[in-house]
């Protein structure tokens, strides 16, 4: 029982990370109809911003050595700038393009960022120790929960509440929801398309920045493809949760986290290496049954 609860907490913690990534992706999809393949690479940028650019195996901390109140905003700022730049340079010129074109463009951005990081930092994974206290265990009842997992959970909750409030209570938030539903009509009413899109990229960037910190603290190492599995699980979470629905993205994130953790815990040892394969097979199963996702967006079917 204890073991199961531990696994559950692991699942929720992993699910939080996927939910945050999925939220970043879902936000851009809702407003722009863009599946941002480069989102994982935004996370990579945030992580690599922590160290000094070099091909050395042992990384020296750059921003990573700053105190937390400076570190967190700095990383988020860098990722936000990167996100806004990619929008301005690549996505804005192809605003009116079809979905496949947008997808491929984001794939190109992803490729460029990955190889750019590769060029600047070399191909060997780098060890980074952001916070050695991350794994001190906190006692909750009879459960031992690593500090980092608690922080992940709390951070996720705080961010989700913040975004929710932003979307519901602020005028920009309402404009974003309107633009996500009917971009052209929002424009006719004076909603500034580029501003709303910029805000979406910015929020997406902040989410990516936070994830990069959480993930790097946990994994302890960086590689130029570190964002790929995160993004992939998140895409799948968005699809499973229901494309175009933010709630769906979050639900999907937790669902994927649950599936992956449970498979990790309960698959027989010789099949563990195929955990990811099983996870995706399960996902395809879900899609067979509910192609619109678990929490479909309630606007017209053309969204998907």
């Amino acid at each position: 029982m204890i073991q199961f609860l531990q696994n559950l907490i692991d699942a929720i913690s992993l699910g939080s990370i996927y939910a945050l990534v999925a939220l970043g992706i879902g936000l851009l999809f809702g407003i722009l109809r863009l599946i941002n393949f480069a989102h994982g690479d935004f996370i990579t940028i945030g992580a690599y911003a922590l160290i000094v650019p070099s091909a050395d195996v042992t990384a020296r901390l750059m921003i990573g050595g700053w105190p937390w109140p400076l570190l967190i905003p700095a990383v988020c700022l860098i990722v936000v700038v990167a996100a806004l730049l990619t929008d301005a340079l690549v996505f804005r010129p192809i605003r009116r393009a079809s979905s496949p074109t947008l997808m491929i463009a984001s794939f190109a951005v992803s490729y460029i960022i990955q190889n750019g990081v590769l060029m600047a930092y070399g191909s060997r994974p780098k060890a980074v120790d952001l916070w050695s206290g991350a794994n001190t265990q906190v006692l909750i009842g009879t459960l031992r929960v690593p500090m980092l997992q608690l922080i992940t959970l709390v951070t996720t909750l705080v961010l989700m509440v913040a975004i929710s409030l932003f979307l519901k209570r602020t005028s920009y938030g309402v404009q974003m929801r309107a633009a996500a539903e009917d971009f052209r009509m929002a424009q006719y009413l004076g909603v500034r398309g580029n501003v709303v899109i910029g805000i979406a990229f910015a929020i997406s960037g902040i989410l990516a920045g936070v994830v990069s910190l959480l993930y790097t603290t946990q994994a302890g190492s960086l590689s130029h493809t570190m964002g790929v599995p995160l993004a992939l699980f998140a895409f799948v979470a968005v699809v499973v949760g229901g494309m175009g629905s933010l709630v769906g993205a979050v639900v999907g994130g937790f669902a994927i986290g649950m599936i992956v953790t449970m498979l990790q815990a309960y698959l027989p040892p010789d099949l563990r290496a195929f955990r990811d394969a099983f996870a995706f097979a399960f996902v395809i199963l879900v899609l067979l049954v509910r192609p619109a996702g678990l929490v479909p967006a309630h606007t017209s079917f053309e969204r998907v």
Partner: protein
């Protein structure tokens, strides 16, 4: 005879031109570019395979390289030395372990196994919307990579399968490339192809005739996997050594880039894209090695190839989203003058086009 050539001039011209490229390259550079040439023809097969699905259905598949991996390993299982297989790949069924099969049989396996997998996967995901299906194909790529990297007893995991007979050179690859072009062409002018293209641009209309579209997409998906698989099989028997690494994100990107640069919606685009991008990448590679002028060495930094390709792709998407061929087919020859069915068809075929919305 001439009427036949004109009527189907697109594939005919493409095949002839590709042959000329080979002749020209071999004449001018001799043996040094044989490897590049062979690889290029294999890429033609793969990208044409990609085109059969993406160009006709309008759905981007990021996972076709997974089928290339399956095909490559299928060929390797057939043709590697039995001694090697019995030690390293003990998980293979006996008939594979103990025997070494001829080239064509290996290619047949490289065609059929990916096609079978595509059939199973396609039944599941062809019903999804374009975007969701694309994500599913991306997941498929990762699954194949994960499975093949870890199933040590069958694929040697992260180490290599060696000793595959290297029977594939530029001319073999060329012949298969020509076949691939003909097959792709036959599909796109068939009823399946035409109906699929008609539904491609309007997903709502496609939904209205749901059942048929799914079946046609599935046909395109399976055919695509078969072609790409053959490419993989040839690749294995060209390199002689096989690992899982190449069949992942980089190659996926390169092949998609080739298709996009050439033009996603035309066969000419697929072929042209491979040739153009190969030329550019070779050029960048040469510049990375560097030139010595007056004793000083000028070289592009490592990794310029990749970034250059990425930038090229982004530029094409922004400036010429339909690719260099603008989605049109190569058809410069005027149709035969007679007012027969043949000439009207030639006009219809040469005017084939598609657009990116």
């Amino acid at each position: 005879m001439r009427a036949l050539f004109v009527r189907h001039q697109t594939p005919a011209l493409l095949i002839v031109l590709l042959g000329l490229v080979a002749a020209a390259t071999l004449l001018s550079a001799g043996d040094t570019l044989q490897v590049t040439l062979t690889e290029m023809y294999i890429r033609v097969i793969v990208v044409v395979g990609l085109y059969v699905f993406i160009g006709n259905s309008g759905i981007i598949s990021f996972g076709q390289v997974g089928f290339m991996c399956i095909g490559a390993y299928a060929a390797a299982w057939a043709t590697a030395e039995p001694n090697f297989k019995q030690i390293m790949l003990a998980g293979l069924p006996a008939f594979l372990q103990e025997n070494q099969y001829p080239f064509l049989l290996a290619i047949a396996g490289a065609m059929l196994l990916p096609a079978a997998v595509a059939l199973l996967l396609g039944v599941a995901i062809m019903r999804l919307s374009g975007t969701a299906a694309s994500i599913a194909t991306f997941a498929f790529l990762i699954i194949v990579n994960s499975v093949y990297s870890n199933w040590d007893s069958v694929t040697a995991g992260v180490s290599s399968i060696i000793g595959i007979p290297t029977v594939v050179g530029p001319w073999t690859a060329y012949v298969f490339a020509a076949i691939a072009i003909l097959v792709a062409y036959a599909f796109q002018v068939s009823r399946f192809g035409l109906m699929l293209r008609a539904s491609r641009d309007d997903e709502v209309a496609a939904r209205a005739s749901a059942v048929k579209i799914v079946r046609m997409r599935l046909a395109a998906f399976v055919l695509s996997a078969a072609l790409v698989g053959v490419g993989g099989g040839l690749y294995a028997q060209f390199l002689g050594i096989l690992t899982v690494d190449p069949f992942y994100l980089n190659l996926s990107f390169i092949t998609i880039a080739m298709l996009v640069v050439g033009g996603m919606f035309s066969l000419t685009g697929a072929v042209a894209g491979v040739v153009v991008v190969t030329a550019i990448v070779e050029g960048l590679r040469f510049l990375e090695r560097g030139l010595t002028i007056d004793g000083a060495k000028y070289a592009l930094p490592q990794g310029s190839q990749e970034i250059g390709l990425g930038l090229l792709m982004a530029l094409i998407l922004i400036l010429r989203p339909n690719g260099l061929t603008r989605g049109r087919e190569l058809a410069p020859l005027p149709p035969a003058p007679a007012k027969t069915a043949a000439s009207t068809e030639a006009v219809r075929l040469s005017g084939q086009s598609g657009t990116v919305g």
